[in-house]
């Protein structure tokens, strides 16, 4: 079989821009011509970089009627007694996309006695809400949820389906994608309409590169979307959605994975770190003395929560549920105050989506300052209490 990537040796000038562009080290210049080896994953970085259009990738061309697929769907994840905040973020983005496509926004709501959430989904942009209620859906189960949603997709043929890139969404969405036999783009941080198609933007390589992805030949176009990236819409009070009741035929026998125990480790009565607008995080330096209490006081003033880098979990200072980074969770709050963290990629990969980053570190050369808008070379035990006191003063207490 011919290799799908080909270099036109007549057009190639051997300039080497493709060599620099390749993230996989797969291009070399041999005898003044580009040569591509088997490390190539056909990412197309070289195609874009080539000034003479000498590199081509042969793609599958399929012509199918895609116009039968309409509307933008959002899987509305339900948390403790409410639809989760991320569901509203997705509805906000879906409204934007639907407006451009002149199509409708639909929410997909699964659970037990969840119909009461339909109004709040409507107020946040859903024109229609598919409600699938069953007592076996009260608790998330991969097989059951995937079966119900796949059935809906095959029956109603949406154009776009968005899932939250939460742990639940990332367990469910690929199972659905494989059930209906379609493509899925993970953990998108940007979505827009480009030539009538959904242009999906996501980070890769630990956030070191961005990729734009299309799903050109099949529908629906499906993606998981990172929480805390899309703004929440302004709710339109009193809006109502058309309710579509979804008949659910499932039974105990189709449950293949059984829950033996559930343990909630996120702060009791507190906000979850992924959903918080403000995160105050500590690293090694915060493990000294009462470092994390110092951070907690600031977090309390800012209505935020405390996060930690891995070292604090290893030292048993903070629970795993608040670990930010590669083996922990990804946060993208409006404000990330980071104290005593050097800035290794294992940590920064979990926080680089934050909007405003303030770093405090005693080492002026710390990498964390490269990820921050504001930096303070100093001791968190001096800077943070002073800041907490100043904020209290300004609040008039």
């Amino acid at each position: 079989m011919a290799d799908p990537i080909q270099v036109d040796l007549e057009k190639c000038t051997g300039c080497g821009l493709c060599v620099k562009a390749c993230p996989f080290d797969a291009v070399t210049v041999v005898d003044k011509k580009a040569a591509i080896d088997e490390r190539c994953v056909l990412c197309s970085a070289c195609v874009q970089a080539c000034p003479t259009e000498a590199i081509r990738i042969e793609r599958r061309e399929v012509k199918v009627d895609l116009s039968a697929y309409r509307d933008v769907w959002v899987f509305a994840e339900v948390g403790e007694g409410c639809a989760k905040g991320v569901s509203f973020e997705l509805l906000g983005k879906a409204s934007e996309l639907a407006k451009e496509l002149k199509q409708q926004v639909c929410a997909v709501l699964l659970g037990h006695e969840v119909r009461r959430y339909a109004d709040i989904l409507a107020e946040n942009g859903a024109g229609r809400v598919f409600v699938a209620e069953h007592e076996l859906l009260a608790r998330y189960n991969t097989d059951l949820y995937s079966t119900v949603i796949s059935g809906l997709i095959m029956k109603h043929r949406p154009n776009i389906v968005l899932f939250p890139a939460t742990k639940l969404g990332r367990d469910l969405a690929p199972r659905v994608a494989a059930t209906v036999g379609l493509g899925l783009t993970a953990d998108c941080t940007g979505l827009s309409i480009h030539d009538g198609m959904l242009l999906q933007t996501r980070p890769a390589f630990g956030g070191n590169i961005m990729a734009d992805i299309l799903c050109p030949h099949t529908r629906p176009q499906m993606a998981t979307v990172r929480p805390n990236v899309m703004p929440k819409p302004v709710p339109r009070r009193g809006m109502k959605a058309g309710i579509v009741d979804v008949p659910v035929k499932i039974d105990q026998k189709s449950i293949r994975v059984h829950v033996k125990e559930q343990v909630k480790t996120c702060a009791v009565g507190g906000k979850k770190i992924e959903e918080s607008d403000v995160v105050v995080a500590g690293g090694r330096a915060a493990c000294e003395g009462d470092g994390f209490e110092v951070l907690q006081k600031l977090a309390d003033e800012l209505n935020g929560v405390v996060g930690a880098s891995r070292v604090a979990i290893d030292m048993n200072r903070k629970p795993k549920s608040v670990q930010v980074g590669q083996s922990g969770i990804t946060v993208s709050p409006k404000l990330y105050v980071v104290c005593g963290v050097s800035g290794a990629i294992q940590h920064t990969v979990g926080m680089r989506g934050s909007k405003l980053v303030v770093a405090v570190n005693t080492d002026p050369g710390a990498t964390i300052f490269e990820f921050s808008q504001y930096g303070i070379v100093g001791d968190l035990f001096q800077v943070i209490p002073a800041l907490t006191a100043e904020i209290r003063k300004r609040k008039g207490r």
Binding site: C43, S146, D171, A211, V263, I376
Partner: protein, 262 residues
């Protein structure tokens, strides 16, 4: 007990540096490693096989010929047999086409009680291949597992969820994807084990060997297409706030107040 474990060779993203002038990735000198979550999956496979009183662990990797080294590493960690899925026709695969290729290979390699994967690869971070593979194999999945044990013909796995964790139970065959626990220290096999690993069976399979349809694999079989790869917009250099802690606190409070944080 037969266990299939999927491993991927990845660039060590912790070593990837960005050229401060051009904003592009510097790949030179970046080592290729086994995906850290996959390393944990292999070590857990070895532990589970031994706990079950023996069996066979087949380590499977899809990638260029160089990916052989992660299979050797897996064999040195204790896997019994390696299969390298390497064919230009596999290149450019999205998660669907990757899962399909792995599913074909696993079916070809026989019946398995467990299929283990890392939760995600550190270069792509999609976490999609595991669940897609489970669906294609028609078996249940438990994702984001950090601890697992056997109970007769069942597995009991601790799964991290958004709210905390759950202990789940499933009859085998089942697919698990692993997250590394915070106390996990990857083993580094000694030279003696690496040289023994060289003698273990390691085959290379292409499209023909997995009975694949070239139109359905690799780039041609992919539904999603990368249209552009670029450096993320670079942040301006941090503005350094100076002065006494009180002066700094006032400056910071000005900024945070203006942004409406209190």
């Amino acid at each position: 007990m037969r266990i299939a474990v999927c491993v991927k060779q990845v660039p060590d993203t912790t070593e990837v540096k960005v050229d401060p002038r051009t904003g592009t990735l510097i790949r030179e000198g970046v080592p290729s490693i086994i995906n850290p979550f996959d390393q944990y999956a292999v070590e857990e496979a070895v532990r589970l096989r031994d706990a079950a009183g023996g069996g066979e662990i087949v380590a499977i990797s899809m990638g260029p010929p160089q990916a052989r080294s992660v299979l050797i590493h897996s064999l040195a960690l204790g896997a019994d047999r390696g299969i390298l899925l390497s064919d230009r026709g596999f290149a450019g695969a999205d998660t669907w086409a990757t899962a399909l290729t792995l599913a074909l290979a696993i079916k070809k390699a026989g019946e398995f009680d467990l299929v283990l994967c890392g939760m995600q690869a550190i270069d792509g971070d999609t976490a999609q291949v595991g669940p897609e593979l489970a669906q294609l194999l028609g078996i249940p999945q438990i994702t984001c597992v950090d601890k697992v044990d056997l109970d007769g013909k069942k597995v009991v796995a601790r799964k991290l969820v958004d709210e905390g964790f759950e202990v789940l139970e499933a009859k085998m065959p089942v697919l698990l994807t692993f997250m590394t626990p915070s106390d996990f220290v990857p083993s580094n096999p000694p030279f003696s084990k690496i040289s023994k690993a060289q003698k273990k069976p390691l085959e290379t399979w292409g499209i023909k060997e997995v009975d694949g349809d070239p139109e359905k694999l690799g780039l041609k079989g992919s539904f999603t297409t990368v249209t552009k790869v670029y450096s993320p917009p670079r942040r301006e250099k941090a503005v350094m706030l100076e002065g006494s802690p009180e002066e700094i606190a006032r400056k910071l409070a000005d900024i945070l107040g203006k942004e409406g944080f209190f």
